[in-house]
């Protein structure tokens, strides 16, 4: 552990000084053999960061008024006379390079160009502007571009959005097979994940081994973990905003990737030249061969299938108006030991209109539909059944932005959505009438929000941003709602009556004001301090007894028993960039207070449960932490170190002593991992070869150990008393990858080979420690490890 840390620090120190891309003094080209005319100078232009050839860049010799264009390999050739020239290299979106030379003989020039404006985009985490982290009043907004994610070792052959985010400070995952993110001590359901503006309920394939978004069709991903802009609401912890790419209006192209687990293809191009573009992407797994090759008989008889697909049509109909339609779907099924199949499917449509009404006033309107369908299908031969569940969201948003000036902006707007949940319908599928069809009452609700935000700067030193969001929510009929005796725990036994609500009748209303504010003071161009506060409301709850998002989970709207979750967060941060933004550092401190988080009664039944209120207990939560971050943006070696010390606690105090958890004391939540360290490095060995490494360490998550062993009905059982008082062993893992860009003839041969190994030293990191009295072995503690061995993968990707 210590050695690896030292190695990283050593590597970070290497190559700290970026090479300059243009010579400061005139370069003499060629071997001087006294040639005067017809000097042939050839060369190649590549992207400084990615090493990719720049096709169609212009090479101008002003003295001779000639301009050449680079070919498919980024190559060019000039025929010059013996003289001094000031050659200019230009490429759209890149910084122009002035290159003074003296041509004395045939020779070669290699040019590396940097993207302009966002010249650090490829590696900068904090937005596009190298000093944005210092200057903006945003706190805890992290944008990861796809190029950044490509620098990380791939997970099972692919860029994985969720896992990439988990490498950042304050963001963690429960374990190796968990799809959700825990952001600053919040649960996985407290993050709003939206794709092209539409909410997505299950962001995973294969229970979290893969992320359900195809990285080739994603443009960028922004995570808001501290002060969330007022235009976002509805979840209490964080917002994950994923935006798809738009296709090219100029020419057809695409990406193809094949790995030993899955394959994906995306194609984009002009539907109507220079007017309408289309992008389509599809990814499918062929992981069955892998499952079938394992020796565990249960896994061997298992089947897993998944795919996801995207379609984006964008129409920049005029300079000031653009329409974008996005369709997204993902599907999974998993047959465990072949008699129970679990499946889930996300579908999202969204249509967006962006318009610049005047030079200062802009408008954005978005409508979406999102569906999440999931089911369990039992084909064991006895009492066969299907359980189907679904969630449907239909909504719209409208934002107006007015820029008084570059440093004084206002955004305001409104949002409305309807949510319909079918928590579960059991349909017998066997012959005869042996079990009854069953249906849990459907749920309906609507949410509306209005918001405004004002951002302005006072001189160079001060920046302010403040906003307010008002959310209102209604829980709607038709529904039969139970009443319970007062002064008794809510249970089947204390039910005293029922009320019938008609279709569309309002059963319960909640509303609340959510202020957002942040303040920045800059000490200099390269260092600043920021303060932030925000309050968020959440009207939907993930009712899950497991540590990960599972299709057996139930989503539940707030009702007259289950109040909305409310989070208050205070944050403070210090930001400093060094050496001309090559190094970025930050320290952030936060404190978060959570109300109405859901906890469960012992042994709660959550599936097909018509009276969930009898199984749930409201809890309060508290989270705090310090996040340290050092990042190196440029050079042969890039990467970052992130370290978080944080706690995530829960407390349950009810009027009824028997329902209190851990006697009403604070206890660690299921995902409380105090120390969390990630080291990431990417080292460019040459322009076409790079090596990347990720090392992650975190404290083991809490677990409950038995207080005693007792016998009942021939079983040795564990008696558990206090929740989450012990911890599973610490987690650490090293992943390595080698990427080789193969330059061949013709466009289908310009491919990327990536070989990666996850869990290089094969640590059996426990996902859980559990206690079991299994047949043929004594009652004992057992460890479940998801990735017990080093796991290699090979992938090949081409752009065409």
């Amino acid at each position: 552990m210590k050695k690896i840390l030292l190695l990283f620090l050593f590597l970070m120190g290497q190559g700290a000084w970026a090479q300059t891309t243009a010579p400061t003094k005139r370069e003499v080209i060629g071997r001087d053999i006294g040639q005067l005319k017809g000097i042939k100078i050839s060369g190649r232009i590549i992207d400084e960061i990615s090493g990719e050839a720049l096709v169609g860049a212009t090479v101008t010799v002003p003295e001779l008024e000639i301009t050449k264009i680079t070919d498919n390999n980024g190559a060019f050739e000039l025929i010059l006379d013996r003289a001094e020239y000031n050659i200019q290299f230009r490429y759209v979106g890149y910084e122009t390079i002035d290159y003074p030379i003296t041509a004395v003989g045939d020779g070669r020039i290699s040019i590396r160009m940097l993207q302009e404006d966002f010249q650090l985009d490829d590696v900068v985490i904090f937005g596009r502007d190298p000093e944005k982290n210092i200057r903006s009043t945003d706190m805890g907004a992290i944008t990861l571009s796809m190029n950044t994610m490509r620098e990380l070792p791939p997970f099972l052959g692919e860029v994985d959005i969720v896992r990439s985010l988990a490498t950042l400070p304050g963001v963690s995952q429960v374990g190796e097979a968990s799809s959700g993110l825990n952001v600053r001590g919040g649960g996985v359901d407290q993050n709003l994940i939206q794709f092209a503006g539409a909410p997505i309920y299950n962001p995973s394939h294969m229970f979290g081994l893969f992320t359900a978004f195809n990285a080739d069709v994603v443009n960028d991903v922004t995570l808001y973990k501290a002060v969330v802009p007022a235009k976002f609401g509805g979840r209490s912890s964080a917002i994950l905003d994923i935006l798809p790419k738009a296709g090219s209006v100029a020419k057809w192209g695409g990406d193809l990737m094949l790995s030993n687990y899955s394959g994906k293809l995306s194609v984009n191009g002009p539907l109507i030249k220079d007017k309408v573009s289309i992008l389509g992407g599809f990814r499918i797994s062929y992981i069955n061969w892998f499952l079938n090759s394992l020796s565990n008989p249960t896994v061997k008889n298992s089947q897993a299938n998944f795919y996801d697909g995207n379609l984006v049509i964008s129409a920049p109909i005029s300079e000031n108006n653009e329409f974008t339609y996005s369709y997204y779907t993902s599907y999974d099924d998993f047959a465990f030991a072949s008699d129970t199949t679990i499946s889930w499917k996300n579908t999202a449509h969204s249509l967006q209109w962006k318009s610049r009404l005047t030079a200062k006033l802009s408008l954005e309107a978005l409508g979406y539909y999102s569906g999440y369908d999931y089911g369990i299908f039992n084909q064991s031969g006895i009492n066969d059944f299907d359980i189907n569940s679904s969630i449907q969201d239909l909504g719209g948003k409208l934002f107006l932005g007015y820029n008084f000036s570059e440093t004084n902006k206002v955004v305001f707007g409104g949002e409305y959505k309807q949510v319909a949940i079918q928590p579960g319908e059991l349909i017998p599928t066997g012959p005869g009438e042996e079990i009854l069809p069953q249906k849990v009452q459907d749920e309906a609700g609507r949410e509306a929000g209005v918001h405004f935000q004002h951002e302005f700067e006072l001189g160079e030193k001060f920046g302010f941003s403040y906003g307010l969001r008002y959310d209102t929510y209604q829980y709607l009929g038709p529904r039969v709602v139970r009443q319970y005796e007062e002064n008794k725990p809510v249970s089947d036994g204390s039910a005293i009556g029922e009320t019938n609500y008609g279709d569309g009748e309002v059963i319960q209303t909640y509303d609340g004001l959510g202020p957002r504010a942040s303040f920045r003071y800059s000490f200099s161009k390269s260092s600043s301090i920021k303060l932030g506060y925000n309050k968020m409301y959440q009207f939907i709850h993930l009712i899950s007894n497991t540590a990960t998002i599972a299709p057996t989970d139930v989503w539940k709207l707030s009702d007259n028993f289950l109040e909305p979750q409310i989070a208050d967060q205070y944050s403070l941060g210090f930001y400093n960039n060094f050496k001309g933004n090559i190094f970025e550092t930050s320290i952030e401190v936060y404190y978060k207070d959570l109300q109405n988080v859901v906890e469960y009664k012992d042994g709660a039944t959550l599936i097909m449960q018509n009276h969930l209120e009898t199984e749930l207990i409201p809890a309060e939560g508290q989270a705090y932490g310090v996040e340290l971050y050092v990042k190196k943006n440029l050079g042969r070696l890039t990467g970052w170190v992130s370290y978080t010390y944080s706690r995530s606690l829960r407390r349950v105090i009810t009027p009824f002593e028997e329902e209190n958890i851990n006697d009403g004391e604070w206890y660690a939540s299921n995902f409380d991992k105090p120390h969390d360290l990630t080291l990431i490095g990417n080292y460019k060995v040459s322009t076409n070869t790079s090596i990347s490494a990720t090392f992650a360490y975190s404290t083991g998550r809490p677990v409950t150990f038995p207080e005693a062993k007792f016998d009942y009905s021939g079983n040795s059982l564990a008696y558990f008393d206090s929740r989450n008082q012990q911890r599973i062993p610490d987690f650490h893992r090293l992943d390595l990858a080698v990427n080789f860009k193969f330059k061949g003839e013709g466009r289908f041969f310009d491919g990327d080979w990536t070989f990666s190994v996850l869990n290089v030293y094969g640590r059996k990191n426990p996902f859980s420690i559990f206690f079991d009295d299994a047949q043929d072995s004594p009652p004992q503690a057992l460890r479940l490890a998801i990735l017990g061995v080093p796991l290699p993968s090979l992938s090949y990707a081409i752009k065409f």
Binding site: T546, T704, A708, Y712, F720, G788
Partner: protein
């Protein structure tokens, strides 16, 4: 890729908590209550669960009648009702215990409901593949066919009686060691004991329980028991009584927690550990935790003889070379009521 293996952890020193396991019902007695003390949950030989002996155990019904239980001579820690005791439908019972050190415990009252009849027992052969083995494990699932009463919420619990089954020897394989007198290896079966009847007391390894939420008022089939084929049991014929109990809602909830814990598989979807609280309380110290549950239930039962041809998959028969009496609990005479 994923794997489960034993893991050494430091478990807190276990508490010695009184544990009660008992079921009285409307069937034939004697019924038993077993008292033990919990211990540390740990590695192999740590924390032995010991019987609690020398306690005074009584059952009291809602009419004030008291039944004294006597501790078994051999089965220490188990306390038995008189043979003629049967619980009566509609009555409530409480269990009262005074341990040798003078501490007094009582259960909450349990009411006896009548159990629907077992209309029929269906059989289903189950095979489970085993890692690294060519033959799977197998056995017979007993499926209870019931007419669930529509007018009430029913909670079911099943147990099976001791198994009685026929053992067959392989005398054709019994060849005496060659001696100068008898150089040839002609089999010499003993005339006495080619066939035996073995009575085996086996617990149902899994708990079989059900509630009628999704079959209320229907004629339905519910898995109610499982007998593993160990190569001896299903060689010829096996007899078992399936006992069906109507238990209370609280007892069902307790057993569901026990079952949930007994069946965790170590998957990522396992529910978190739950506190299994029973219906016993200490009268001296309300804070004292008492484990286990005292149940009172109506019983219905049905006998079935299972022929080896009823199974669709049989384990290779274990070989008993000559004398079947060498097998424990085996007898050459069938039980008096053996009537296949």
């Amino acid at each position: 890729m994923a794997c489960i293996d034993p893991y050494q952890v430091d478990v807190p020193q276990g508490q010695q908590l009184l544990t009660v396991e008992g079921l009285i019902h409307t069937g034939l007695g004697p019924h038993s209550i077993t008292l033990t003390r919990s211990d540390t949950y740990g590695s192999v030989f740590e924390g032995l669960v010991r019987p609690v002996t020398g306690a005074t155990v009584v059952i009291r019904d809602n009419e004030g009648r008291i039944i004294f239980l006597t501790e078994g001579q051999e089965a220490r820690g188990s306390y038995f009702t008189p043979v003629d005791f049967r619980a009566e439908i509609g009555k409530s019972y409480t269990l009262q215990i005074q341990t040798a050190d003078g501490r007094v415990y009582t259960s909450l009252p349990e009411r006896v409901e009548s159990a629907p009849e077992i209309e029929n027992i269906n059989l289903n052969t189950v095979t489970v593949p085993v890692e690294g083995e060519t033959t799977p494990r197998s056995g017979v699932q007993l499926i209870s066919e019931i007419n669930d009463p529509a007018d009430q919420n029913n909670f079911y619990f099943w147990r099976i009686s001791p198994l009685v089954y026929v053992l067959e020897t392989r005398p054709d394989l019994f060849t005496p060691r060659p001696t100068p007198e008898k150089p040839d290896r002609i089999p010499e079966p003993k005339p006495c004991c080619a066939v035996c009847y073995r009575t085996e007391i086996t617990g149902n390894q899994s708990l079989f329980i059900a509630q009628d939420d999704n079959f209320n008022g229907l004629t339905t089939r519910i898995p109610a028991g499982f007998i593993e084929d160990d190569g001896l049991r299903f060689v010829n014929k096996l007899r078992v009584d399936l006992r069906q109990y109507a238990i209370s809602q609280e007892a069902y909830r307790f057993l569901r927690l026990v079952k949930q814990q007994a069946e965790i598989s170590g998957s990522i979807f396992d529910p978190p550990p739950a506190t299994i609280r029973g219906n016993m309380i200490s009268l001296d110290n309300p804070e004292e935790v008492v484990l286990g549950y005292f149940m009172a239930a109506g019983e219905s039962s049905r006998r079935i003889y299972i022929d080896n041809s009823d199974l669709t998959f049989n384990q290779i028969a274990a070989t008993i070379p000559d004398d079947c009496r060498v097998v424990a609990w085996a007898n050459v005479d069938p039980p008096v009521d053996w009537n296949p």
